[in-house]
Amino acid sequence: MKKKFAGAFLLGAMVLSLAACGSSTGSSKPAAESGSDKGAAVTDAAKAQTTAGGEKTVRVAAVDPQVALDPQQYTYSIVMKITDNITESLLKTKGDGSLEPVLLTGMPEISEDQLTYSFELLPDVKFHNGETLKSSDVKYSYERLIKMAKMATLLENVVGYDELSAGTADELSGFELKDDTHFTITLKKPYAPFLSVLSTAYTAIYPEAACEEAGDTWGMQTLYGTGPFKLDSYQTGVGAVLSRFDDYHGGPVKLDGVDYKFIEDVNTQVLEYQAGNVDYVDVDPSVYPIYSGNPQLSSEMHGFQPTGCYSMTLNVKTFPDAKVREAVALSIDRKAICESILHGTATVPTSYIPAGIIGHDDSLPEFEYDPERAKELLAEAGYPDGIDLRVTVNTKYQGNVAIATAFQEQAKAAGINVEVEQVDSAAWSDMKHSGGVDCGISNWYVDYSDPESMLYPMTKTDTNSSFWHNAEFDQLLEDGIATTDTAERQEIYAKAEHIMTREDWATTPLYNETKYYLLNPDITGFEIDSTFRMFWKDADIQ
């Protein structure tokens, strides 16, 4: 009897190990691909269930934000992915970059001197708690954004910003309430991107009373907006459940709800999609090559180009000579990186300001790889024997680690001896601020479709780790926001960009990426924009 007992365990152990060994013959790639044939049946069966029950709920695989769902406090795109379906801003940026009113009866009227904006709210817009949207809620929300500090500078051109920010005033004096649906905002100086700013998730409108009452629990247990879905529950580590808001001012919503499931591992996310347990999943660049060749999934995989780019930033304190910075920019082979490390999902940029944004100059050539010229430049700068270069990368972006390693090899031809330093996110942010990054690889995306959002960190703040400042560039940026004529702005920003990336070489663009996601083909009307914002308002399950 006991022999049998032991034998049974042995058998169990064997089965387990065989299961493991059986797959060891191939890497994870063929295993994943072979999963598709049998996985297909499962996928279809499970997908059908979505609609069979009558409940039209979209299940989204998402990364756990681990913070309050409040973009005023936490500026992560993974937060907005959820909140953009719950809360709304006064305006919305459409796919072509133009603005449309959301909570307004029409586009605001702008005074002759470009300083005063007059708004009229839609009547009878309800928040999820039943309250009606009033002008005072807008004022409250903007004042809260300033008090929360994180993204306050978005409103720095509004009269009274400085006093409110410094705590010497309790109110934003440039915001004038006329009545419950009318208000004006006065600016200190003309600021062209102002309305674009009011379309961002940071400027979402919250109901004053409820938000005040919730205090620290706002965005954790309570979050009310005027959006198409209301937040039923949010639990870090688990997920967020949204259900349709029946009193939505923007007409009937077809979906019953959106269910965000927090799945951290990028491979597990795709496996859950294959098994039909989620309808939407982002395909991380690290697993893209595994699944892009899968015929079952390729038709369900979609791509978009986010407005922004990856770039390499040089600290001008360490490298004060622009010639040295240019040499570094010339010694990285962007094309090879796009093709090999990024599996062809990225393209070599021609400018820092991405296509589709004012200031993008499409006549420019791609940034090139010319180690010979780099060597000459270094010699001219007084380094005929080359230089040592410490490249710091944030390990959160594993792709960057691979790129830095490739750069190490490529730069040898230019006489640049690259040392790769890997740090985690917290150390990365800290080092960037304190000037500890000599050469860093990072990405930047616009918050609103305006060149100011792209170039802002280069001048006002030192968050981009280069500590580069150029009086002409700064002046151009000042001119840029004070100008409303698009053609003039195009010229101004193109010039500013030229100074930054082709004269001073403080920051050099590396690549423009394509982001991929998998979407259940039964879903229509889903919208994702180039600033990563994701809207389920018009979606439906066929």
């Binding site: 042995l10 493991a20 797959s23 309050a68 500026t75 306050a152 951290e264 917290a426 960190p457």
Partner: protein, 310 residues
């Protein structure tokens, strides 16, 4: 026995105190600033200073540490910088999940590991012994995340019999339990075999056999009981490890346990959460070790903790 336990518990307080001090100092030395991370996007120096003040990070370090100790004495580690969740509540929430995962993997590891070790020792030198030992080496050396992905593909996707990820049903814990338990099963099998072989060479085993006790009776009653001390030591500390969570397994299976909490706290430099988690992990190890030590007395009557001992 009681005074020994009391003495050990008093020591525990000092151990925890020491660990808290070391953690605190290390966190001051390691680069990384939670505020810089929070204000990644558009912050100017004034804003950073403002937030540092709000979090009390502008206080002298010893004041910060004293504040921490003051709170810790009441099991109050403060609130997380990022989630605003009370640290002890977060720990308890994750602990509930981790305990389930730990029990699942422990049951798997012990049920597979210990019997295979016994069996292997009894059949020493035979083919089956070699086979079990090879398996145990595979179990110990196969990376857990790799085992996890293979299990997910086979049982979650292809056969579709178990959930790929999640933690809301008992079934959801089976795959992570196996993935996490595999290496413990391997090491348990090896230590059980070694320990059993040593005991089975002893005279009293031969005596028992000579008395005519049935073979498996000797193995289970006489040999195993005496071989248990090294096994219990290993199994106990293994369980301690399991209770402190497994970052990799929790990540792959989307289980919000202690491991994930600790890693998130570290990568965010979420100091209150990190201190709380470290204290929890230290506490688990100290307690598990104490229980293991106390169990020796039950396993081997020659070991007595009392006056003059310890």
């Amino acid at each position: 026995m009681l005074s020994y336990t009391a003495k050990r518990l008093v020591q525990t307080v000092f151990v925890l105190f020491g660990i808290s001090l070391i953690t605190f100092i290390l966190l001051q030395v390691v680069p990384g600033d939670p505020v810089a991370l929070m204000l990644e996007k558009r912050a100017d120096p004034e804003t950073i200073a403002k937030v540092r003040h709000e979090l009390g990070l502008d206080l002298p370090i010893y004041v910060q540490y004293l504040n921490f100790i003051k709170g810790a004495l009441h099991l109050d580690f403060g609130t997380s910088y990022f989630t605003k969740e009370v640290v002890s509540a977060a720990l308890f929430r994750c602990f509930k999940v981790t305990v389930k995962l730990a029990c699942m993997s422990f049951i798997f590891a012990a049920l597979i590991g210990i019997p295979s070790g016994i069996f292997s020792a009894v059949k020493r030198g035979r083919g089956i012994d070699t086979f079990v030992m090879v398996l145990s080496i595979i179990g110990v050396s196969a990376p857990a995340f790799w085992v996890a992905i293979i299990l997910q593909i086979i049982f979650g996707l292809k056969l579709a019999v178990l959930p790929i990820s999640g933690f809301d049903s008992v079934a959801a814990y089976i795959l992570p339990g196996i993935a996490l338990g595999a290496r413990y099963a391997g090491s348990m099998a090896r230590i059980t075999r070694t320990s059993m072989l040593e005991v089975m060479g002893q005279d009293y085993i031969r005596t028992a056999r000579a008395k005519g006790v049935r073979r498996w009776g000797v193995i289970m009653k006489h040999a195993l009981k005496n071989a248990l001390i090294p096994i219990v030591t290993l199994v106990g500390t293994d369980f301690g490890y399991m209770l402190t969570g497994s970052m990799l397994i929790e990540k792959v299976f989307s289980i919000p346990g202690i491991g994930k909490l600790a890693v998130d706290a570290m990568s965010n430099r979420d100091l209150p959460l990190l201190e709380g988690t470290v204290m929890y992990i230290a506490f688990v190890f100290v307690i598990v070790n104490l229980i293991v030590d106390l169990s020796y007395a039950f396993l081997d009557p020659r070991i007595r903790y009392g006056k003059g001992a310890a």
